[in-house]
Amino acid sequence: MKRLNRYDGLAMGIILVSTLLSLWRLNIFPVFVDIFYHMSVTKGFSIAGGIVLHDFWEFAPLGRVHLYPPFLHVIMGFMYRFLPMITVGKIISFIMFPLVQLSVFLYVREVFDRKTSFYTVLLITVPFNFYRSQALTNATSLVLVLTPLVFLAVEKRKLLSSVILMSMALYTHISMPHIVSAGLILYAVLNREKRKLILKTLGISYLLFLPWLIHVLVNSKEISAATFGTILQSEMHLIPIFFGFIGLVYCFLKKKHYYLPAMYFLSMIIILYKYPMRFWAHMALGISILGGISLSEIENAIIRNQKRYGMTLGFSVAVILMICFNIFDPVFTTTPIGNEFDNKDPTIMTLLKGNVQPSLITPETMELCRIVEENTNPEQIFFITNPTIGCLITSLTGRSQILGMWHEVQPEIKTPPAAAKLLIFDNKFLDNLRNKKPELLRNLKYVGKTERYTAFLQNRPVKAKSRIPKVVFPEILAYILLFSGIAGLIFDIRRS
């Protein structure tokens, strides 16, 4: 481990300030929607007593095949043993940004140098859409946290660590880790020294991932082929992208270990095919490393011939850039029908001003949870017009819902709302129903109301119930495996 210097101080300062500001804005966590899906899966596993291969908490009563890799849910499940579910969701949503800052800081610092690592941390902190995506797309975010650590382990020739970290990534998200693999394979093609280690890492990791891979492949027909968004919908943060492209070319010219971030960034372009909008957020990891390399080399080139005051000049450049990049973030936004150049607030400035959407955990959603819990038995099903809030209710009450999130996987059958014991309609939907099909409301008993929703109980007896499937991997074994992995990492690091 290298000694700390003033560039480390700057990098850690950025991480500390952004983390403290996030803590100050803790009420925005958990951010937006994805976390509620993960919270509901965690609750589902907790009710079942371990990992199951069938969702019973969504699209009830029949549910659907469960294809989402379980690593994040095992971590959340362990936390849930000691903390309330909302706290677990808040922590997971909050922690991913500081973690990715730290992991990229470590990788770049150890493999390149401390100045490059400072510039990388600076660039990754600029785009607020990356901050938001780290808080929002929790499983992908965890893969992005693990990615620089996989790279570090590969560069340091630590086979055990690289296998453990890569396997963790594979068990976290269904597609994102394969981008890491693609980057590593391209790197192995170009860098003969690391080829053997990379092939061993990927070979063993995919072997360990085989059980879940087979499960996904067997049920692959359940996965929808839809593309989310259009390629013309983009948000380009010009500073990181500009320096990132310079770094991309520079890495090709420098070769050796410089190839890895370049290959990783090129592999990320695959995201444009399925999730064009997400690409512009997730790319920040790859582009910041490349941008960090170029900015650091530009600074080195400036101070090269300055014998006396070179170091002070270089450090002053770094400080000035740090201030500027945290004030100005020129962004080019495009949609299929237009585009615009705008100056957006960078992450630190946005958090400082507090221009952020509040969380969906509000007194209203908590009241809905209370209504569901008080009016249903654990095996009874509820319907709500907004399945995201449905997932939140499931995660806090354990009741299964008729609808669900993560539409990439088809439900077995789309059950009509009439199969639910409790129905929660948003007021607009209710008005439409009153006007168009008032007969549907005849057998319903009013049980509660919030600002936007009204809840009814079915008067007639409802037979549909959620059924808990057989556990394929008990909770306790999952925790043992999790801690064995962490112990393996510690052992491998301490060995040197």
Binding site: R114, F242, L253, G314, G338
Partner: protein
């Protein structure tokens, strides 16, 4: 990087190997350790190449997403501002308003090119007043 190069870079006469490493660590110059010599040629090439890719990306997206519809809306904003100014100055703007109405009809019929031409003509007329 060669020992001589490091010494030259630091302007130091004859320190020992450990001393060099220590100086490099202390002086934020760990980029010089392990053969990571800065190549001005490579950096210049990277700067030109990176800038070209950047311009190519932005211009491609710019042209793919620029539309007559958006341009029309931008022109309408300019038109409204100018119209207000001319009215304030007490100029007769009735014939220009006719043109803008025709442009609006063309816009509603999704004939964006025609709408754009008409609104531009209206702006020109306003400027002449």
């Amino acid at each position: 990087m060669e020992r001589e190069d490091i010494l030259k870079e630091l302007g130091i006469k004859e320190p020992g190997k450990e001393e060099i490493e220590s100086i490099l660590e202390k002086e934020d110059m760990d980029h010089l350790v392990g053969g990571k010599k800065i190549s001005k040629k490579k950096l210049s090439l990277a700067f030109i190449g990176g800038t070209l890719i950047f311009i190519l990306l932005i211009s491609t997206f710019y042209f793919l997403t620029s539309s007559s519809e958006k341009e029309y809306r931008d022109q309408v904003r300019i038109f409204k501002k100018l119209l207000e100014e001319k009215r304030y100055e007490g100029k007769d703007v009735s014939h220009v308003i006719d043109l803008s109405r025709k442009a609006e009809i063309a816009y509603r019929n999704r004939d964006y090119k025609q709408a754009l031409e008409l609104i531009k003509k209206a702006i020109e007329e306003l400027r002449r007043l």
